[in-house]
Symmetry: D2
Subunit: 317 residues, 4 copies
């Protein structure tokens, strides 16, 4: 069992911050929890923390930070020790971000910026967002796609094998599915710290670039909400990269769009739960992946190559 | 085949007009099309006319008018002649309401105010509501329950038999289902001018009062949207009279709430289509009705008695 | 208002009749109502007639007959007169098919075989299929995709304009949407005899062949059932031609598969209702169609060319 | 983090075993994995073990055994030691049940029969049940309600506080929600070994009886499948105790029916995930529970009193 409780908050960069903000608020239906400097703090109605997304104005796009909450103060110490033992370096931060205790910031093998932490504020809604049911962190406003919470993150890596080993061996994630190319290369790894079929995904960067983001996924409870989100994307002029359908890997139901800042966003639900403590990872071959998604939909080419920040031209490989 | 194309717009009275407006806009997600005097004109995103609901401030609640659009100018003339032949009186209006041609206003047997008309403006959305798909009258905003259009109306009648005969014989509606009590009394009639399982419903007024409204129903395309609307009602403090479930009669999926002005509102979907031109009306007995709704849910008592405007005390019967 | 109540039953040919039967029974979940000679009569749980599909063993595939039920005996006479007046010929049949009164058989402009009729048996379910709700023709068995009823038919035509004019002028169908190519050619016409957005569709035969079938569509009440049907197609080895998504034209939600006999079958729901008696047909241009389906899904090439019976090679045009 | 991976298989007793079997196979859509003596072994299409339900013919109803799979051989040893340290007794079984390694059988504080185990066979489907997607244990047959897997169990207890303490302190379950009566009595405890909002529930036995079962819940992925299951229950004559609606506690979507053997069965989905490692249990008061379920549906009286095996008369309290 992993000592990581969950990932998030995630800091996302946008060169068109105002338009990105309108996307997250009006189309995804997130709530603005606060604002500091060039950053806006956002939350889904089901996020238990004060925020799950920090949107920061920048001259580029991509993921600036991925938080990882440890299960306990002791688990935090142990994970930090493991990170150091793995030679990944890093340092305790002097000051914590909004509503969070001290954190240990370091880079994963491919350069993705992580912060391990334990202490965090639980959300206390203002009057107008107080829910009717006390087991819900916030009122269901129903605005836009009304995403419930941050669900998972897919980052690109020049070396999936190394990152996958880091996630399992250092962080304690479990590997549920992976893609292995005919030449033995690992092209993708679906990892989870819980029974959810994926929380952290590494897929191969087509350009061999480093530390890029593939997509951030927000959860809705039903497939109907994904379909509804597609109608909202359509009528709000959001670029739909992949219309709603069902993944073969992890069996999640998806809708992919590109937010105004250029980052790929998924609205997701479904999938399966892994209750087997010895679950053997499903391994997909190139031939199997060629069949497309669960119902035969062929993935658009951009899905295999585009990430943020974008790269100018393919790097030599 | 009926010469009535459909019912609507409907004029609804509210003694708490501002709060009612907030309900229709924020919770049901309707759009304000215009405003005149003490009335606000509202529309669902799928209504082809400029508006389907006229909300008027008043000292009471209930239905002030139910429009009935004829199939053609000739059909309009024929229906007006039929109304007159039935001795129901009425008169051509001097001036038409917002975006509508001349109309013939009269009262049904129980006193419900109707207006037959043919000419009407088709909706032309402003820039910010222009849809992505040209076969859609308006952008899908997704706000609140995001009802698509006015669907059906259920009025109360002291004499269901007389009103049912009026609807079939004078207006040309078809009778698809009805309730017949053990003593032979007709307690409910489900009528339609199309293949939809119901458009106009008459049910017995428990107080023997006249011309009252039972509920106005707005359509959503999926049952999931009814369930979602229930969450919105809950978190917006709207009184839920009957939680989502499936009717036995007409098999519609429902959610009933009371809007701030006191009128009962339904969010509905489902049901069946009647393609049989000789469809024999389904007749329900008292014993059958005692089984409750489709899945056995017992209808709350208020559903059998409450209507708008409310009556002080049961009239002698 | 059309004098046609609805289309169906439809006779479908299959060169692999036993496998086709297994598809319709096990995967689509239809019920065998009877069997005669080389034909099996099938029904959805919501079909009011005894059957809506007649599956006939043959050396080819395609549609052998499309029934058209008139609104009344008089409507039948008038439509037959109109067919004759249009020079389409045809003849009254000596003997009627299973449970149907006398019919008038003729070919449409492109050669599609039609039968106009009025008298028909209403379905009376055997004991084991008796429903709990008396306003339902048959028990909901829930087997396979559990399609409710025959919904619409899309046929291919070498001359869409001629067939469209026949449908509107002779049969009285209403035209709700159509495609017009840049050179003025009509490439598709969506027609309906009711408020449903389409019942009879003509699209251009890519080979200029005659009287072919594009697809037969069966209705389910929810989009979730379309998604579920896709899982069933997948696990039953049915060839999924187009995974579930939303059409731009008519906004129907679809799943297309090829049944073992080679005919294209759709599981469909959604769309919109046309209550406007003067509804102006939506006209789609080539440029607009290039955008793909509602959410941008590009239609697979076979969808534009494949029909049944298949043609050997493109005819000269 | 709990050392219990999940609960199940569950052994259920039925005095009408053949009819119960028909219910689980035809209505719930489970698969018969095997048969031994008076027991039939059943599975949902998503269960990773060979079976999750053992249905045993008996002269009474109720739960004969609840399996608890430990995370590892070491976790198993530690949990057994904890059970012994708690004075609950128990013993290692000489022979294991179908496809399971050795187990430690003991009774919980109220007498519920548990078996801790670790080793278990993973399911290997026969040819006709082989799935199209390799990350799925079995083909999706779609028969009946097509439940995916065993989800949670609700048992009745004469002393909820004692059982709740046992679950958290001895088994390591986490407490997510509970009911506390005005006099301080604990009336219900919702416990989980994962992020799922509940897996093991204890509620107060209205008769003060011991070791009874309230209900066994099977998971479906969507609310639409719960609604669909209600139609199946209706048309298969299954007694619907509570029609589909949403719980306030844990926010699960439910359908409750009584299977022919008398045991209460739930078809469930929804709810929320608990990612907070320090999640404070939600405490519901009597006043709050009086509001009924999430959307105000009042729970039927039998839900508060009926359990299996049934008790003759209320015990003195």
């Amino acid at each position: 069992v992993s000592e990581i409780a969950h990932l998030g908050p995630l800091e996302l960069l946008s060169p068109r911050a105002e338009e990105s903000l309108r996307f997250f608020v009006d189309v995804l239906g997130m709530e603005v929890e606060g604002q500091e400097g060039r950053s806006v703090y956002l939350r889904g109605w089901g996020d238990y923390q004060r925020y799950s997304l920090k949107l920061t104005e920048s001259d580029t796009s991509g993921m600036a930070l991925l938080g990882l909450r440890a299960w306990s103060p002791e688990a935090l110490e142990r994970r930090v020790a493991a990170v150091r033992a793995a030679g990944l370096g890093g340092a305790w931060l002097d000051s914590a971000d909004r509503g969070r205790g001290r954190g240990y910031r370091f880079s994963g093998p491919d350069g993705h910026p992580f912060e391990l932490y334990y202490e965090v504020d639980r959300y206390a809604p203002p009057e107008h967002l107080r829910p009717a049911l006390k087991n819900q962190p916030q009122r269901y406003t129903g605005r836009g796609a009304a995403v419930k919470r941050l669900d998972h993150v897919n980052v690109l890596s020049a070396d999936v094998r190394a990152d996958r080993a880091f996630a399992t061996d250092v962080l304690g994630y479990r590997l549920y599915e992976r893609i292995q190319l005919d030449d033995g290369t690992e092209a993708g790894a679906w990892l989870s710290a819980s029974i959810a079929a994926h929380e952290l995904i590494y897929t191969k960067d087509a350009y061999g670039a480093h530390a890029r983001l593939h997509h951030v996924a927000f959860w809705v409870d039903t497939r109907e909400e994904c379909l509804r989100a597609a109608d909202l994307f359509l009528d709000h002029g959001v670029d739909i990269e992949a219309a709603p359908s069902k993944h073969a890997i992890a069996q999640g139901f998806f809708l992919y769009g590109i937010e105004p800042g250029g980052n790929r966003i998924e609205v997701t639900t479904g999938g399966y739960f892994v209750y087997d403590p010895d679950h053997p990872a499903t391994v997909w071959t190139e031939a199997e992946r060629r069949k497309g998604q669960a119902w035969g939909v062929q993935t658009v080419e951009s899905f295999h190559t585009y990430g943020t920040p974008p790269v100018e031209a393919p790097a030599a490989r």
